[in-house]
Symmetry: C2
Subunit: 214 residues, 2 copies
């Protein structure tokens, strides 16, 4: 029997936490393929990481594998989903219903993963009251009340770069501690609040470094 995970502390480096969803995705794929046990070597090939790195990352959360036997796929998957808080649903709100915001509301990938966009906001009077998907766009003054009422824990920001910091400040004041930011800007947040930037321009610019010498 694999041992239960030991106490998880905040000593886990953020870079490890950032990799956990990739483990979950790879293990989920193996689970669907009915693979029962996977070695750190096999996982390493799939994730393009060294087996040593994988063993080290996973060791933060417990002793999952038997020396030389590999990891039990279903068990490890369940434990990591627990560690990441993926065994429950999370409500989020979207701010900014331009072209990008609309694509986000209509994106079919969030709900199956337990992320629900349950409210949408905009500052432009012309957008307020419009129905997008199943949501009626609300004025930003409703932010605080709606966040409390609907237990919204995640803010998705799809406003122009110039407005992003202001919107994120408002979300943080309403108690939101996780921001998914689509605006091309690096916002400031107080300690204890996490931001992830979905930013294709930064991604492209970090690849042209390698292209330019070709």
């Amino acid at each position: 029997m694999p041992s239960k995970p030991t106490d998880i502390t905040d000593d886990v480096p953020e870079v490890v936490v950032l990799r956990l969803p990739q483990y979950v995705r790879a293990l989920g794929e193996l689970f669907r393929q009915k693979v029962v046990v996977v070695s750190s070597q096999q996982l390493g090939i799939q994730l393009q990481m060294t087996p040593a790195q994988i063993r080290k990352d996973l060791s933060y959360f417990g002793r999952f594998g038997k020396q030389g036997r590999g990891y039990p796929v279903g068990y490890l998957l369940g434990e990591l989903r627990q560690v990441l808080g993926l065994e429950r649903k999370w409500n989020s709100c979207l701010v900014g219903v331009g072209r990008l915001g609309r694509a986000i509301i209509n994106y079919p990938g969030f709900t199956p993963e337990g992320f629900n966009v349950v409210a949408a906001f905009d500052t432009a009077p012309s957008e307020i009251g419009e129905t997008i998907g199943s949501l009626v766009v609300q004025p930003i003054v409703e932010l605080e009340r709606t966040i409390k009422e609907q237990d919204i824990r995640i803010g998705i920001v799809a406003v122009p770069a110039t407005k992003a910091q202001e919107v994120i400040d408002q979300l943080v004041r309403c108690g939101v501690k996780a921001i998914l930011n689509y605006a091309p800007t690096g916002p400031q947040v107080p300690e204890g609040v996490r931001v992830r930037n979905v930013d294709p321009i930064l991604a492209l610019q970090s690849m042209t470094y390698y292209l330019k010498s070709d």
Copy 2:
């Protein structure tokens, strides 16, 4: 006078390269605000990094600042843009013209940064020949010819997860060495090819870790 950058080698860690676009964005913002000199402390506050980390990162590319005097904003910005290959235009093609692909074609953020989406492809016969923005959707059999003719160096992938690896393999066979992947999957690529995944689900899952104990 700041000294010229020394030879740049492939010894620069990828994690540093990944941060360079953030420096460029922060310096560009300072430049627009007519700031002439910036200290590693000031940059550190803006980028939420330690001054020591910033000095170390930048030291890979030359000696930009005078001890205790800070960095010359315009000069450093120009040099880093050069290092990243941002002083030229880059042609890209999009594969997959579903809802997400259409949003990408219409996204106004790429062109001002020097990234042009010059061709669009899909496998579905119903999409072929349709005009989206200024592009006519081409069948995937035209991929190789178009990539060569239009000097396309970057592939943007917006197909379903199940098709992403196959599409990326095709792009790589056509000589593309930089992939911006919007499909929720971690594709495999040969050495010398870079992939950046734009993946809101992984981003969300790496934040719920911190939310779940609240």
